[in-house]
Assembly symmetry: C2
Homo-oligomer: 167 residues x 2
DNA sequence: AACCATAAGTTCTATTTTAGAACTGTCAAT
DNA sequence: ATTGACAGTTCTAAAATAGAACTTATGGTT
């Protein structure tokens, strides 16, 4: 499968993976949330090759996740800053960090701690239902095809116990 | 940077990316959450090459995200099912799907809808603070080095406005 | 004027990863 | 004896990544 095909899939996960599902994009975005904005700073803090960094930044701008803002003329130089679309990736970043905190830390403990400015406490992120506010788990959720779905594949129908017409 | 180096980074995001940060792992996990369990079913529903599928399943088992369970003897065959560590990836999957729902849908609308069994409503996932229950955003959170941190890099110190000793 | 430094890339070759298809081994059913 | 299901493995070609050097534009130093 090519990257472009991923964008076209009738699946919100696949389309998001087309944007952030490679080795470097999430690490670049981590730096953005840590207030890194410039090419050489990304390069220094990540150790990514300049070639790939240029490529990934271009991709993130193309998808509207980052925006290039000029910070000086002569020579013209730009900073890369998160758009609203990019800021909206925060729950993804935080849930990834949280999973790593729970399942991938060594004996030294967490590399980073998070404090909620509003309440002042150190916290973990919790995912809840927008309607009732209760925490979510895979087993507590039913999945339904939406208007953008295509016919479910036989293999999914079997797995979900659905009946499908032949043909 | 090599994949193995990513596991060793003092960063929960990098360590999680070592597990799920490639083109296929998240798509395989999506299938797991949709109750797909067997090699040929993964292959048929994803179109992934058999080579890569075998490789990724092996990796996910090695990381303790999936477990191989025998479902028949003679010939011995296994199913791949999510461990608790794997089930804990649900918030990551859901936040990725939600971002795609908001930012990557076409005119036809969402490919999938989610219903909360507990309250009966169609819902979106919301990320809240474990301490006060209020929704989280990047700007509402302070980041602190934890016990597993290593000395912050000059570039991060600059970005965060911290003072660092020379040397 | 010549030299150095900064910033943001681009270009090059070598290595690694992935795609795509074919092949292998085990067993059951016909 | 042949066919088909299942779970991989093996092969070659194509694509992506690593690592280093090079480019362009400008400003400051000697």
């Amino acid at each position: 499968m090519k990257w472009d095909a991923l964008e076209e899939e009738p699946c919100s996960l696949a389309r998001t993976v087309a944007v952030i599902g490679d080795r470097w994009s999430l690490l670049i975005l981590r730096e953005c949330f840590l207030r890194i904005r410039r090419f050489d700073d990304f390069q220094a803090s990540l150790g990514i090759t300049r070639h790939l960094l240029a490529d990934r930044l271009k991709k993130l701008v193309r998808f509207g996740v980052l925006r290039k803002i000029p910070y000086q003329e002569a020579p013209k130089r730009y900073e890369y800053i998160l758009t609203q679309k990019g800021l909206d990736l925060y729950p993804i970043i935080m849930s990834i960090v949280h999973w790593g905190n729970i399942h991938m830390v060594d004996s030294r403990g967490r590399p980073m701690l998070h404090q909620h400015k509003a309440c002042g406490h150190m916290f973990d992120p919790v995912m809840v239902c927008s309607e009732c506010g209760e925490p979510l788990s895979a087993k507590g959720v039913h999945v339904h095809p939406g208007p953008g779905a295509r016919r479910s594949s036989p293999v999914h129908a079997k797995a979900l116990g659905t009946k499908v017409k032949a043909g």
